[in-house]
Amino acid sequence: MTKIELRGVRFRYRGQRADVLKGISSVFSQGRVTALLGPNASGKTTLFKILLKVLQPSAGSVHVNGKEIRQLSLAELSRIVAWVPQEEEPLFPYTVHEYLLLGRAPHLGFFDVPTGEDEEVIKRVLAELGIAKLARRGTMSLSGGEKRLVFIARALVQQPEVLILDEPTVHLDLRNRALVLAAIRRAAEGGKTVIFSTHDVNEASLVADEVKIINNGRMIKQGDPDKVLTEEVLKGIYGLRLVFSRVDGRPIAELAPEIFRRGRK
């Protein structure tokens, strides 16, 4: 089932001459994990901001659950789409529990304060992610991996249908990467639409059901990891020779060793 559809979305920042997004059409389906791959400054962040209604497209349209995003209020949208940025440092040292309560804002009236019902949701999400023991800790005392899981928990507390994550595994060690990626898969298996950006080709290949490659403001390739992550496509983007192998039937790409040999001389 189609969750989000972009039709010819263009975007240009005020005062700039060129479009950052140059006519993007794409579909994100329910219960699937989509990896958004693309070099720095390719337009990934701008695309996310449009999906969050932080920015309005200059042309084209975005449809969420069949409704144009323009017709959804921010509050309505926030009950459908949740956002996990790479880094987030709250101004004051909230406890994890207090921080997660903020994720209930979409479900509360303007002057409301969270109630026991909201606390129950938090308990459930913390247990699902296996981090119940963090509840009373201060957000500023968490390790990098714990922090990332708490960010994801804050988004899940929103009880969204769509989860968007900006490079969720960047700066994490292998163990924490595994935890985060498992949480992403579990969310999709629970019916959520998951979209995450990454620079790691192999992470996209192994975790995602679908890979979309964005380059220079255009969606240049989208589909099965097997069909998208080919030598030809990747060479076109990064201009590098890569060596391919397969794990679990999926393509794995590494930098060709001669690149380092040349550097050593």
Binding site: V54, L91, F111
Partner: protein, 321 residues
Amino acid sequence: MRLLVRFLAITAALLGIFCLSLFLGRYSVNFQELLSSGLASEILFNIRLPRILAAALLGMALAAAGAALQSAFKNPLVEPSLLGVSQGSAFGAALAILFFVNSPVVIEASSTAFGLLALLIAYLLSSSLKYGGKILRLVLAGIAVSAIFSGGVGIIKTMADPLNQLPALTFWLLGGLSGAGWGDLLYMLPLALCGIVALLLLRWRINLLTLRDDVTFSLGTDPGKLRALVVIFAVLAVAAVTSVAGVIAWVGLIVPHIARKIFGADNSRIIPASLILGAGLMIAFDTVARTLTAGEIPLGVVTSLCGAPVFLLLLSRGGES
């Protein structure tokens, strides 16, 4: 549960200070006199009580506004006077005194309008400055706006009629509650209360402003609109009390920090706690101002003398986590 005990403790402290302050002063009053002497009850109910209530309202408004503005501007060093609000209010009041010396309502309205204007200018300036980070830009803009408005106050002083307007102006600018009676209390009450109640209602939602703006958006709240709303109500409260008490610094800065030491980071506790602590602290400061010497020390002087060391003490006691 532990939090409830702490709230009860600071409320008890506030009541204690209130009662103590009522019986302290140059004319000492005890219970027996209160029952027998007409003068004693006159002093207590028509001079001390309104002044103490005015001090409480002043402390509540400044502290709650300080807490809200610190969150709204993502900066724990913000207080109303740092952003130019107080100087703007002072200018507005001075301007009104120049033309309508005998009409407190006009003075209050003018004070409110210019306080809001000063904040608006500081905010717009800070986003166009090309130096330093968000925090530094805001502080710099606030300093500049404060300086401009206090310069304006200086000009008004030279223009004021030295027999009538200048004394009124100087008295106002020193900052303090000497002579504040029921009338003063009543006319700052509506606006101050409106600001305080609004901040109290928004106490939890204000937390959303301490997150990244894109996250606030994703939680269904436009951070720009919420910030504007919080700032307007904070400035309403501050301008209302400033129009009676003059520029009182430091309380709006330190009280939220004291509250965070006791109650943690969540604004749904910090705003109410700041109200109680702000009231208690301001009553104490004002009692010192009117009892320490034979004359009266301006309240603004007392809050600066006591506030600055407390602030340093808070910061030197390490992180808040």
